[in-house]
Symmetry: C2
Subunit: 376 residues, 2 copies
C-alpha cells in the first residue's frame, strides 16, 4: 500500500496506494470540513488545483447533515462529488476544541453540540461507525488531543486511555469493514501519537501504537499552543520510532515553512485550514512570502498575486481587482484567494516531490526557508 521511492536524509518521497487512488507524498490534504472547502470552492475546482486528498470532519458531518444521511447518499465521496481519496478525522479534536460541557469517561466523551446544544456521546466505536458511514478512504483513530502546555500526569493518563481506545477502534473497524453493506470495506485506519511536549510520553506512546500494525501513523496534539521549535523537537524525538514502511501524517500543520521543516524530518502527509482561512481574509501565499491584499498599496496594482503562479486566479485577476472585491465585501474575493492558496500549497508539495526525485530537496529548502513565511 505504501511504497518508499527515495530518501534524502530523513525526507521521504513515496506513494500511498488506496482503493480510491494513488497519493504521491509528501502531500498536503485540502480541508473540506463540512464536505465543502470554505470559500465557495467545489470538488470540481479541487481537481484543477492539484488536490490529491480531501479531508472532512467527522464531528461536523455527524452533527449536520448526519452520517446516516451521508451513508444513504452513497458516502462522502459520492455526496460531495469527489472521486479521489478522502481522509476523515475522528471527531476527537473537535469534541475537545469546539463542543462545550464535555465529560470524559473510560467509555468515551459526553458533549453538547456546538450547533444546538444536543447532548451527544462519542467513543471509539461511535467514531468508527460514523467514519464507516461516511465511507472515507482513511479513518483516524478516536483520541484525546491535549492542549499545550499540558500537565505531565494528566497527559500520561490521557495517553494510556487513548491507547485503550485505539485497540477498540481497530476492533470496531475490522468488524465494520467485514459487514456486507459497508460503503468502503477497504477503509484504512491511522493511529495517532499523543503525549503533549513530553518526549518520554511521546516515544512510549509511539512504540505502543506501532505495535498494532496500523495502515499509517499520525502525530497529533502539535500546533496546539506550543512554538514551532517545540514541534520540531517532538517530531525529531518520535520519528525514529515510526515504521519506515507506513505513511506519517502531521495533523493540522502548517505554514509553508512548517511543511518544509517537517518533510525534512520525515513527515509524508499534512493538513491545515491555513490556506483556506488565510485566503478568506485576503492573505495570500507566494514563494517569496505572504501578501495582505487589503493593503492600500495594491489599489492600482495590475499584477497578479504571484507572477510565477499558474493558478486560475493568477491567470486572470489583478491584485487591484482582488483588493476591490475584499473592500466591497464580494464573496468572489474569498473564492479567488482560497483557490490561489490551495493551489500554492498543492504546487509547493509538487515542487518538494520533484526535488526529492532529483535529490535536491536540501537546496530547495535552503532557497525557500528565508522568505517563504515572511510578510511582504
Amino acid at each position: 500500500m505504501f511504497k518508499l521511492i527515495k530518501n534524502e536524509g530523513k525526507a521521504r518521497r513515496a506513494q500511498l496506494t488506496t482503493v480510491h487512488g494513488v497519493v504521491q507524498t509528501p502531500a498536503f490534504m485540502n480541508v473540506g470540513t463540512c464536505a465543502a472547502i470554505k470559500g465557495a470552492v467545489s470538488s470540481q475546482d479541487l481537481k484543477e488545483l492539484k488536490c490529491q486528498v480531501e479531508l472532512c470532519n467527522t464531528y461536523h458531518l455527524h452533527l449536520r447533515p448526519g452520517d446516516d444521511v451521508v451513508r444513504d447518499m452513497g458516502g462522502l465521496r459520492k455526496f460531495m462529488c469527489w472521486d479521489g481519496p478522502v481522509l476523515t478525522d475522528s471527531g476527537g479534536f473537535q469534541v475537545f476544541s469546539l463542543a462545550p460541557l464535555r465529560k470524559i469517561t473510560e467509555e468515551g466523551v459526553y458533549f453538547s453540540s456546538h450547533i444546538d446544544g444536543t447532548r451527544i456521546f462519542m467513543g471509539p466505536e461511535e467514531s468508527m461507525r460514523i467514519q464507516s458511514n461516511l465511507g472515507s478512504t482513511i479513518a483516524m483513530a478516536f483520541d484525546e488531543c491535549v492542549a499545550n502546555p499540558a500537565e505531565y500526569e494528566y497527559t500520561k493518563l490521557s495517553c494510556a486511555r487513548t491507547l485503550r481506545w485505539l485497540y477498540r477502534c481497530k476492533d470496531e473497524m475490522e468488524r465494520l469493514n467485514g459487514l456486507e453493506n459497508t460503503i468502503n470495506s477497504h477503509q484504512m485506519l491511522f493511529g495517532i501519537n499523543q503525549g503533549a511536549t513530553f518526549e518520554d510520553l511521546r516515544i512510549q506512546n509511539m512504540q505502543q501504537i506501532v505495535e498494532l500494525g496500523l495502515d499509517g501513523y499520525a502525530i497529533g496534539g502539535l500546533a496546539v499552543g506550543e512554538c514551532a521549535t517545540e514541534m520540531y523537537r517532538i517530531i525529531d524525538s518520535v520519528e525514529p520510532f515510526m515504521p519506515a514502511d507506513k505513511p506519517r501524517y502531521l495533523m493540522g500543520v502548517g505554514t509553508p515553512l512548517n511543511l518544509l521543516e517537517s518533510v525534512e524530518r520525515g513527515v509524508d502527509i499534512f493538513d491545515c485550514v491555513m490556506p483556506s482561512r488565510n485566503g478568506r481574509h485576503g492573505h495570500v501565499f507566494t514563494i517569496s512570502g505572504k501578501r495582505n491584499l487589503i493593503n492600500a498599496k495594491y489599489q492600482r496594482d495590475p499584477a497578479p498575486i504571484d507572477e510565477q503562479c499558474s493558478c486560475p486566479t493568477c491567470q486572470n485577476y489583478s491584485r487591484a481587482y482582488l483588493r476591490h472585491l475584499f473592500k466591497a465585501e464580494e464573496m468572489l474575493a474569498m473564492r479567488l484567494c482560497v483557490i490561489h492558496n490551495l493551489y500554492f500549497y498543492n504546487r509547493l508539495m509538487e515542487t518538494i516531490r520533484a526535488s526529492l526525485d532529483e535529490g535536491t530537496f536540501g537546496q530547495l529548502k535552503k532557497r525557500l526557508e528565508q522568505t517563504i513565511d515572511m510578510r511582504i
Copy 2:
C-alpha cells in the same frame, strides 16, 4: 448596429453589434453590481453560463473602488476580466433607492454615500463621466426613477427634468467619446422612458426621447411597486412609439414569466438581480417552476436541481448536497445555486431565440407560462 432578424407578432429576434461583441436578442444581462456577480461567480464562470452581457452599477463603482481607479486599471472590462459587452446603469436608480438625505435640483442630485455618509453630487454630466471612466459598452442616461404608486403632477415635472437631463447626457457623452484618452470612444447611450403608470406621460416621454436618435431605449421605473398587469399595460402603451430599429431594454425585470410576457410585447433586453439573489437563498429555477432547496423533502434527494439542465451544478451535485451546504452555511451553496440560476436565465433566452428563429415562440410561451413561475 441593431439588426432585426425576424418578428413573431410583436416579439423580435435581432442582434446588436457593439464594439465589444455581438449580442443575440432577446437577451438577459447578468448583474455584477460591484464588478462581480454576487455569490462568488467570476467573469470566467460567466463564459460557461452563456452570459452575453454583464451589467455593472455606476453608483456602487463610483463609491468603491472609485471610477478613477477603474479607469487607471484600463476600464471595467479589463479590471474584472470580462471581454464581452458591459452595460452600466446611470446611478440614478441607486441614488433614489439606496442613498439617504438626497436633494434633487435642476443640476442633479445631492446625496450621502450609503457606505460612509460622504456627501456626493451626481448630475447628468457626472454620470456620463463616471461611465466613460468605467469604459462600458453601453451607458445609460441619468434619470429619476419615481417609485410606484406615484403622484401625477410630480411624475410630470420629474419626466420633464429627466428629459432635460437626457439632452445634457447626450452632449456630454459626445464630448467624452471625442476625447483622445477615452477608454471606449464608441460608448453607446440608451435613453430611459419614465412616467410611472400614467400612459399619457409615458407616451409623451417616449416620443420626446426618441427624437434624440439614441442607440437604444429603455423602459425604466417599472417593477418598482406596481403589479405585473400594470407593467404589461405600460409596455403595451409605449411599445408602438419605440423605434423598430433600436434595441428595447426593460430595466430590472424580472421573473421567467415576466420575460416571456415582455418578449411577446416587443422587448429585446432585460436585467434582474432575481437569479443571483434567489440563488443565494436556495431558490432555484426550472422550466417546471421554482424549488426551495432548504425544504426538508430534499434531505435525501439524489437528483440534481433539474434533470434536464446542463449547468455545471446540475451536472455534478444533488439536491441533498446543496441542501446540506445551505444548512451548514457553506458559501459553496450560494455559488452553485447562482450558477444554476444564471445558466437557467441565459438558457431560457437562448430557447426563446431559437423559438423565434423557428416561428414557434407562441407555442413555447403557451407551454411554459402555466408552470414556469410556480413554486414546486
